[in-house]
């Protein structure tokens, strides 16, 4: 039985009676038997509907077959629910019923998607209704959602599949539209023998109904191209077929996609631009747009690159981004350009070669954006790799056989089509250099066969585009990612999740799909200078992927992580940090299971050794995510020395034993006051009253002691939870601010905070963060604190740099917000010019205020950047700046990270930095990082 089901799932034939009501309008479809093979289509005779297995009331209606205007069709439905239809009723001509047939096919698809879904459920049984926590939903009337109540039309069980009932024309139209979209979305999910037929049938259906449902068709088509980038060959073929069948429809599709491209280009959505350009590249092959149109589109991207009348190229971050888009388009366009425009194609490849060469010359030895420093960098981005692929493909006659390209099958149809011209594209002008995106080279984390470079590039390119485009839904993204191999031939890559013996798949002899996906995830996570989306996206996407394929992907992730960590001493410091954050969340999502024994040797390494730091910091993160005993219980004894023996706690200074009598008196008074909800004024009064009597010390010392007393007690008051801490700082903010009246005072407050939370780095970071928000301390204070000489030898600790990043991000965010507010104030002022004077003045004033605040913030931003850089350079240039080589390597790595992340601010203040931060004694490598950053920031 199960076998039979499986077969049907893949391929079935339905005999259906398409019912038409007395006015000849489509009413519904009755399904009869399911056959296993499609071969019988031609020999079928009309059958009475005797086994109405889906609709109980069908028999009655079928009795009237002869009197009705309905007719019988055979439908071939494959596993991806694409339908091919054949009319087997001799009474009707095929031409007349196309519309009805497709409506019927839509109805079947809907029915089937439900049924196949059921059959795929556990044990072949019914569909399991589970809630978001994976528990079975209890079947109670109140837990039923409005949308799963039976519709009124279905009462009596005689209603046809899919259609709400007679008379609901509007519902019907909506229904048709939603089914039409689902047909477009699902077509070509797999490379099946029927794909050609499906595409053909779909284009017939779309062409026929385009006028009626124009916006639905166009909207769906637009999103399919954008959101399902790996099916680009399918959608370009579909567009070509539409164009071949009806030139006007084709023009509408092309024109819409062109406008979408303009919009994405203006917004600087580079991945979308690349995806759309790939689509246009393939449209040339289907004769939908002309070769000259495509070439002029590509030339728009090449124009800023070419200088000196083509004798040279200009290297910049925007040009690298444009080159990447242009080269990636050429890769897909080569096949259709090679005959008609061979010379033009060659010219553009020449430009690419020149660009890659110049880029490599300019960035010789610059490993600022390379994740691994042990491998020879081919350049700081993907361009060199892409050029290599381009050359191999060109040598191969521009044939790309990685994914199934159905357009060959429709060559004769395409040859009769009329192609379109498109208006010129315009590049955006107001985009910051940091907002251009050129990915780094795809990471090689598992060995792969060297002769498969083209397949590997194309697969990983499509995978990474899909990841970028489906960022808004990691769950569906994970689902789709695992389907991408569906369109590629068996020879291209092995798929462990569908292989019978996944353990036999060898990545050294064949490309392995799962490894390619995971390599792309880590490639995007570790992308330098920054990843495209937040790090957390790649973490939760990985979690979804592993949830979908628990066994195989768990192993794949483990292998890849181990491969990276085996080379950890040459991994960029920032990437080690990102990977550690990633791993902690990943492990915490899978019951804290990890094979720590493999890394137990790290426990014997020296304190700042890269591997030890990585393992230790990951464990500390895990403790933050759970609690000490949880982590302890899962660790082998050999690794216990990596985590603290006691749970994180505070370090309150004024414990009873360790102080003199009069200090104890103040401390007790303060403690009582704070505990009984005393105010900031009361606390200040106590301090004043007590310390003023200490005549044996000078005023400054008294202030220092009082400050310490206050801060320690406020921190103790807030030590219970994050919210307690917020409350305590908020409440005593006036007192804290009064005591923090100078940079030295602020630094003292920060240092007390560090000592208080010495055994709890997380709370240390949180408290510092919130103290900045409440203006108790300044960003400048944090910089001084972090580079304090007491931290020399501890540069491998992650939390210092977490604090630095948070602080600088905060300052930058404030500048951006103020700029926004200023723009809003100006806009409001402009709009008000005709209004009453009073209003006008008020707005003008507020714009001035904002401007003044912005000025202060920009100065603060500059101060932070300059002083941080100065500290870094001083420490790197001095023998006392670090305890040993390992310690210094961390410091240098963090310096790189800092300059790289804030390269926009570094560039703005470059001349100040040259003068202030760097001196004749500055170390050579610090200087090199700085000049490399300047190369990156053009």
């Amino acid at each position: 039985m199960p076998d039979k089901h499986k077969k049907q799932e893949l391929y079935c034939v339905f005999f259906c009676f398409v019912d038409v009501d007395v006015d000849g309008r489509f009413f519904g479809v009755w399904i009869d038997t399911i056959h296993d093979t499609p071969t019988e289509i031609s020999t079928i005779k009309i059958k009475a509907m005797t086994r109405p297995e889906t609709s109980p009331g069908v028999t009655q209606s079928v009795k009237n077959v002869s009197s009705s205007k309905g007719f019988v069709v055979a439908m071939v439905v494959d596993a991806e629910l694409a339908v091919a239809v054949d009319v087997v009723d001799s009474r009707v001509s095929k031409r007349l019923v196309v519309e009805d047939i497709y409506k019927a096919s839509l109805a079947i698809v809907q029915l089937l998607s439900g049924r196949l879904g059921n059959r795929r459920g556990a044990g072949g049984g019914g569909h399991k209704d589970v809630d978001e926590f994976g528990r079975e939903r209890r079947n109670r009337p109140h837990s039923r959602k409005p949308y799963d109540r039976p519709s009124r039309g279905a009462r009596g069980g005689a209603a046809p599949v899919g259609v709400g009932g007679r008379g609901g024309r509007q519902d019907e139209s909506k229904d048709i539209e939603s089914r039409l979209s689902s047909l477009i979305i699902k077509v070509g999910d797999k490379n099946t023998p029927t794909l050609q037929n499906n595409l053909d049938a779909l284009s017939v259906v779309l062409e026929k109904d385009y006028a009626k449902h124009e916006s639905t068709v166009l909207r769906t088509f637009r999103q399919c191209v954008l959101e399902l980038p790996w099916k680009v060959t399918v959608y370009s073929t579909l567009a070509g077929l539409l164009n071949a069948k009806n030139n006007e429809t084709g023009e509408k599709v092309v024109s819409l996609m062109h406008q979408v491209l303009c919009k994405e280009l203006a917004k600087g959505n580079w991945v979308s631009v690349k995806v759309l350009m790939r689509f246009f590249a393939l449209l040339v092959g289907t004769n939908t747009i002309s070769a000259s149109t495509l070439l002029s589109m590509i030339d728009v991207f090449l124009k800023p690159v070419i200088i000196d009348n083509g004798a040279d190229v200009a290297i910049s971050s925007s040009n690298s981004c444009y080159m990447f888009i242009a080269m990636s388009t050429l890769l897909w366009a080569g096949h259709s350009l090679k005959e008609s425009s061979a010379a033009e194609l060659g010219q553009r490849i020449k430009i690419a070669e020149m660009y890659v060469q110049r880029h490599a010359e300019r960035n010789e030895g610059n490993n600022l954006t390379t994740v691994f420093h042990d491998a020879l960098p081919k350049g700081s981005n993907i361009l060199a790799y892409l050029l290599e692929v381009l050359c191999v493909v060109a040598d191969n006659g521009w044939k790309i056989d990685t994914i199934f390209s159905p357009y060959d099958m429709f060559a004769s149809e395409f040859s009769q089509a009329k192609s379109h011209e498109l208006p010129a594209l315009e590049l955006p002008t107001n985009i910051a250099f940091t907002a251009y995106y050129t990915p780094s080279e795809f990471l090689q984390l598992v060995p792969s066969p060297a002769d498969q470079i083209v397949h590997r590039f194309i697969m990983q390119d499509l995978i990474s585009d899909t990841m970028a485009q489906l960022e808004a839904n990691r769950k569906d993204c994970a689902k789709y990612l695992m389907q991408i191999h569906g369109l590629c031939g068996e020879a291209v890559c092995s798929v462990m999740t569908t292989a019978q013996h996944p353990e036999d798949v060898d990545p050294e002899t064949t490309l392995v799909f799962e490894y390619m996906v995971i390599e792309v995830i880590f490639g995007m996570l570790l992308q330098l200078p920054e990843s495209l989306s937040r790090e957390m996206y790649y973490t939760s996407l990985a979690i979804e992927l592993r949830k979908a394929e628990p066994q195989i992907l768990a192993n794949v992730f483990e292998t890849v992580i181990e491969n990276i960590i085996a080379r950890v001493q040459s991994v960029d410091v920032e990437c080690i940090n990102r990977l550690s954050n990633w791993l902690a969340i990943y492990i915490s999502n899978f019951s804290f299971q990890w094979d720590w024994v493999k890394w137990e040797s790290a426990a014997n390494e020296s304190e700042s050794a890269p591997k030890r730091s990585f393992v230790q910091e990951t464990l500390l993160k895990l403790i933050r995510l759970s609690y000490l005993d949880r982590v302890k219980s899962m660790l082998p004894e050999s690794c216990l020395s990596l985590i603290p023996a006691k749970a994180p706690s505070h370090n309150f200074k004024f414990t009873v034993q360790a102080m003199d009598e009069r200090t104890r008196e103040v401390s007790v008074a303060m403690g009582k006051c704070l505990k009984s909800k005393g105010t900031a004024e009361q606390a200040m009064a106590i301090l004043q009253e007590n310390y003023s009597q200490w005549s044996d010390i000078d005023e400054d010392t008294r202030q220092t002691l009082a400050r310490e007393m206050l801060v320690e007690h406020v921190l103790l008051l807030g030590s219970k939870t994050f919210s307690h801490m917020l409350n305590a700082i908020e409440k005593f903010m006036p007192a804290l601010q009064r005591f923090g009246d100078s940079p030295e005072a602020k630094l003292q407050i920060a240092k007390i905070t560090e000592d208080f939370w010495l055994k709890n780095p997380q709370f240390f970071a949180i408290t510092i963060d919130k103290m900045i928000n409440y203006r108790v301390i300044d960003p400048a204070t944090v910089v001084e604190l972090l580079f304090d000489s007491s931290h020399v030898g501890k540069w491998s600790k992650f939390h210092f740099w977490e604090i630095l990043r948070n602080t600088v991000n905060k300052v930058n965010l404030r500048v951006v917000q103020l700029q926004g507010r200023l723009a809003a104030a100006h806009a409001a002022a402009d709009a008000m010019t005709d209004e009453a004077d009073a209003h006008e003045q008020q707005t003008a004033e507020s714009a001035e205020q904002v401007e003044a605040t912005l000025g202060q913030m920009v100065q603060e931003q500059k101060d932070v950047v300059v002083s941080t850089t100065r500290h870094f350079v001083q420490l790197l240039s001095s023998a006392d700046g670090s305890t040993d080589e390992l310690d210094r390597a961390w410091l240098l790595g963090r310096f790189k990270e800092f300059l790289r992340t804030y390269r926009a601010q570094i560039t703005e203040n470059a001349s100040t930095l040259e003068n202030v931060a760097f001196t004749a004694e500055s170390s050579e490598d610090a200087r090199l990082v700085f000049s490399n950053i300047r190369m990156l920031s053009i």
Binding site: F133, E214, E421, L470, N473, K475, E535, Y537, T539, R624
Partner: protein, 202 residues
Amino acid sequence: MVSTTEIERGLLSDNFTIVPRLDQPSTYKDHQYQGSNVQRNDDLARTTTLYVGNLSFYTTEEQMYEVFSKAGEIKRIIMGLSRHTKTPCGFCFVEYYTHEDALNCMKYVNGTKLDDRIIRTDLDPGFKEGRQFGRGRSGGQVRDEYRQEYDEGRGGWGHMRAKQEEERRVQQEENYEAISTVPAGAELQINSRLGDGGGYGA
């Protein structure tokens, strides 16, 4: 070349996606929300606050901070407390500084695990004083009242069941009289017809 039609203009500005976005409001609703539906949608379109559910009672604010700060800087966390005991009862509100970060959280954090539990987040129109307290009769969340299954992270079996268990215990305590001397039990030989060593339980 065609000019832009009305349909095309519409098509360029709509937000239609075929893959549903995860940062859209779900069916979650604060039943005591005072405004109209329009106002609620408006609030949700700008909110920086999330309702977080299915937490363990023992999850700390700092654990939450660690996970939720992956989506953006946190302004505050408001723990959901039992009305009676003022202890955590498995939900909280997390407020960010920007709406975008709240959406990031919906996209990346919602549905991941914290403390071995799959947490659920929902866009919330905004915290109001009083909402931190559970609305169940027991003081905790309503959903815990009716829970039947055992849940270590959320206090046993739910309040109905816990109450029943408590009543049974009280009843048992009242009716059951404990003995003070433990009997030694009958010697085997006395009742055995099978002779020494052959009896039951020998």
